[in-house]
């Protein structure tokens, strides 16, 4: 029985809906460990039948881009319209 940290760390919660392909970030919760985080996420974020799969990850384990780097990160792609594949005609094929 070691020293116990009385404050639970935050976890970020990602939920995949029934027919959704990707997990979507829906919010955060506090928990003592990942197992408990999964259960808290289930109770807080899927009680209205939203999801079929949950991911949780310690908030501290996420590396995020910083607002200061916004220009260097994203501005260069703002005028590169040629990166969109819109400059050639596509034949009329199904599912495109």
């Amino acid at each position: 029985m070691s020293e116990v940290d009385p404050v639970w760390p935050p976890y970020e919660v990602f939920v995949r809906s029934k027919r959704g392909l990707n997990h979507v970030h829906v919010g955060s919760i506090h928990a003592a460990d990942p197992d408990m985080a999964l259960r808290h996420a289930r109770d807080v974020y899927t009680r209205r039948n939203e999801g079929v799969s949950i991911w949780v990850v310690r908030s501290a384990d996420i590396t995020a881009s910083s607002p200061d780097e916004k220009d260097a990160f994203f501005a260069p792609s703002g005028d590169k319209i040629y990166r969109h594949p819109t400059f050639y005609d596509v034949e009329d094929v199904p599912h495109m």
Binding site: M1, R19, D43, R48, N49, E50
Partner: protein, 313 residues
């Protein structure tokens, strides 16, 4: 007049937008695809089954769930963490859902169990059964009536209750009454989660700090005398077990005990002693004899409904 901000169909700030499929029901926040547990189930009383006994049995199961749901609701604004508060409230709401179906079943099987209200009252049968019966008409077990105590006591009570109810509902899935069978099939999935939730917390508290273990042991000692009642049988259950409608209380209790003993062992907790076998016929909740706690619980739960018997909610 201040302009209202434009709202796209897919608001980029709405974290849930990606969860909703096109054309899906969005009124209930973001969920979809709800199903009715009684859809397609024949609600007539099966031939040969005793309507009044079936009603009495559904009231027992419903009363257990409703009274514990009320206790769990009392944790709102008082739980140790917001997440635990939501978890306990969710469990309570699952139990209210079970109660509603069981009360509706009771009212259909024997309309005479439903309290009479002044003409013109819009209260449906399940509300009348919940709000207009006194403690002596309730048939819940003593375990669910007991005050919440601390979080450890709530966890101990919940794990005992959920383990017991899981064994009952598991058996009732094959009840000869199709409604009871459908309600149980739905309930099993809910109660399995309740048991898992409470069992994890029990092990966490037992293996946590000196204080959490002390509280867990104290909760076990104080609630254990209520456990024995769960294994008792009664006239109604006995008759319905013979008809293939009810679950055998003794067999369900045996499975419950086995689970609880394994769980306590895993937590390194001693099974409390000092729960002597009661003499047959000892009055209990199933006979309408209750601890004093039930009266004050019902007073709080029923006060507003009783003050406005013709009220619309």
């Amino acid at each position: 007049m201040a302009p209202t901000p434009p709202r796209d169909e897919h608001d980029e700030y709405d974290a849930y937008a990606g969860l909703v499929e096109a054309g899906e029901e969005t009124r209930w926040a973001f969920g979809s695809g709800f199903d009715d547990p009684l859809a397609g189930v024949d609600v007539s009383v099966p031939p040969g089954a005793d309507g009044p006994a079936l009603a009495a049995y559904c009231l027992m199961l419903g009363d257990d769930a409703l009274v514990l749901a009320q206790r769990l609701a009392q944790w709102c604004t008082r739980a140790p963490e917001l997440e635990e508060e939501v978890a306990l409230a969710n469990i309570g709401l699952d139990l209210v859902g079970q109660t509603r179906l069981l009360y509706a079943r009771a009212a259909a099987a024997d309309p005479s169990v439903v309290p009479t209200l002044p003409p013109g009252s819009p209260a449906p049968p399940e509300d009348r059964l919940a709000f207009f019966r006194g403690p002596e008409e309730y048939r819940c077990v003593w375990l669910v009536e007991q005050p919440n105590g601390d979080f450890a006591a709530t966890v101990v009570r919940l794990v005992v209750f959920a383990a017991w109810r899981l064994t009952l509902l598991g058996r009732l899935r094959t009840s000869r009454d199709p409604v009871l069978a459908a309600v149980s099939a739905k309930g099993v999935k809910e109660v399995r989660y309740h048991r898992d939730y409470a069992a994890r917390w029990l092990l966490t508290l037992a293996g946590g700090t000196v204080e959490s273990r002390r509280r867990t042991e104290a909760a076990l000692e104080s609630l254990w005398p209520c456990v024995e009642e769960l294994g008792r049988t009664d006239d109604v259950s006995e008759r319905l077990v013979a008809d293939g409608v009810a679950a055998d209380p003794a067999a369900a209790f045996e499975d419950t005990s086995a689970f609880l003993h394994r769980l306590l062992e895993e937590g390194g907790l001693r099974v409390p002693t000092g729960s002597p076998e009661p003499a047959p016929g000892t009055p209990g909740g199933r006979l309408g004899v209750h601890s004093p706690w039930l009266g004050s619980l019902l007073e709080e739960m029923q006060g507003i409904a009783r003050a406005h018997p013709a009220g619309r909610w």
